[in-house]
Symmetry: C2
């Protein structure tokens, strides 16, 4: 039962990876103040490094929505300093996974709180509140889940693949370890069931959304209400704006186009939003039994952002 404050006209939950989702969430928060927003966030990229628990997708969203992110780099904080890493480099420590000084404070905070017995969900809520977010940040699960990739150079953890190898190796298989047994977070389950609309962000389908879909009942929840589920394609004109989403679709045997995205989400979504550049593929999407809306999916400027928000929240 939704009890909605008067100024809220929509309740929306966004399945979220990192950068792509963060930009969409920021746009929705900015252009649709009438929307009550939650983000159900991937945790399968989370990693323990130097004893610290790092949640890249949760942090990217927090920093981006708070306007603190380094937009150029696509990760980390603007105006970041690197004292700790510089010294760690001198000591001969592991520095391929760069952690800025302010960013490190987030990881120290989280790791201390988890050590005290708090859940990832509680920590995410605390950090979101500290940064003044009006979005409810919901880790999809508080249980450990890890994306692991079987590649041409052997089995790699997500961060080894993505950061150390710059996602430049052939992937044979993607595994979501722990996902089948992981419980959906309490907040995440409520959000997915109660939101009027579930949006799948233009995140990497296989690396960012896949591990969310692999958690316990998520597929079933979406399939049951697929008419309310809208995905935004992260593929434009056969390519990903950023990252290896295009390449991975191909490596998983799917078309490297919005059709691959549509096939990957088939049965789970009622609507796919594709970019104008792909308008000629709209009919082929519809042939898969998925409603297809042509709009802009590049949040390069505020006009585009507003247009996409209007499509997602009519």
């Amino acid at each position: 039962m939704l009890v909605r404050p008067s100024r809220v006209t929509w309740v929306i939950s966004v399945l979220s990876g990192g950068v792509g989702a963060a930009r969409l969430l920021r746009a929705l928060q900015r252009h649709r103040p009438d929307v009550e927003l939650s983000a159900v966030v991937n945790v399968a990229d989370d990693v323990t490094m130097h004893g610290l628990t790092i949640c890249p997708d949760l942090d990217t969203i927090t920093y981006t929505v708070a306007g603190l992110n380094n937009a150029e780099a696509g990760w980390g904080l603007a105006g970041e300093t690197w004292r700790v890493m510089e010294e760690l480099e001198r000591l001969g420590g592991l520095t391929w996974f760069r952690l800025g000084d302010r960013d490190l404070a987030t990881h120290l905070y989280r790791t201390q709180r988890l050590g005290d017995g708090a859940t990832k969900s509680e920590v995410a809520r605390e950090l979101a509140a500290r940064h003044g977010l009006r979005i409810e940040l919901l880790p999809v699960s508080d249980d450990p889940v890890a994306t692991v990739l079987e590649t041409e150079v052997g089995r790699l953890s997500f961060q080894e693949y993505f950061v150390a190898h710059r996602h430049d190796v052939v992937v044979r298989e993607v595994l979501y370890e722990g996902a089948p047994d992981a419980r959906l977070g309490l907040g995440a389950e409520r959000a997915l069931r109660d939101a009027e609309r579930v949006v799948i962000a233009p995140s990497n389908p296989i690396l960012s959304v896949g591990p969310i879909l692999a958690i316990g009942p998520v597929r079933d929840v979406l399939a049951e209400r697929r008419d309310d589920v809208v995905a935004v394609s992260p593929i434009i004109n056969g390519a990903a704006l950023k990252g290896p989403a295009d390449r991975l679709l191909g490596e998983m045997g799917l078309p490297v186009s919005v059709l691959g995205v549509a096939q990957y989400y088939a049965g789970l979504i009622g609507t796919l939003v594709i970019d104008e550049a792909d308008a000629h593929l709209a009919e082929s999407v519809r042939d898969l039994g998925i409603n297809c809306v042509v709009s802009t999916t590049v949040l390069a400027n505020e006009d585009n952002a507003r247009r996409l928000c209007e499509v997602l929240v009519p």
Copy 2:
């Protein structure tokens, strides 16, 4: 069996806490290049904070002997910056235990290596090498040991007592948890058996040396060769130069003077070095069956440092 390079005339091992020991080790390294030095270091103040393993005594020694320490503060590094702590404060994290940015790199390095399966001894050796130390740094044990204090405000961990309460509460009992079952580190055992002389640094007897003495066979090893064991009194004219050594002697029912130190180490040391200010107590020390040498124990300047080094290494 000692195999001694030709320029080495003495092999000495120093039972070490933090600041007092660090200054003595630095003086010995500087003024007695003919001495092959090892430090058997207290680990009972070690603490896990934000998921990071912090070894304050090992780090104080490393930083001080390398000449990187903040001499004014008595802890941490000179010219340190505090980006991480400033941000952690903004996030509402735990900041009563201050960790500078460069210092944090040490803890990240150690925690990562321990996570990889390295021992504290291995990490101490690596860090000492990185900083160019000519002293062998030997954690007294690789097993967990923790000093715990029963106080007027309840049971406190060492760092809660020392940092959070600024050692300003009445202590009823000092416990060295884990010490009876802890194994002496391999390097530490060899050093204590093979060194020609074992020096007990002018560290806090109860808080810094006590937990070393409580480890497995340390008392027996020292008692067997007590004629080779020389302690330097951390108490001068009834007071500690720094920290609560004086107060704690009293709280443990011992005289608050070099006599308290002598009683605490009775049976384990052949010689106690006391300051000129306490020359009148030398006979009373000797009455306890301990040889007593009057010298300077304040390493305030290089002259004093040289004099004390000559007493310790004739």
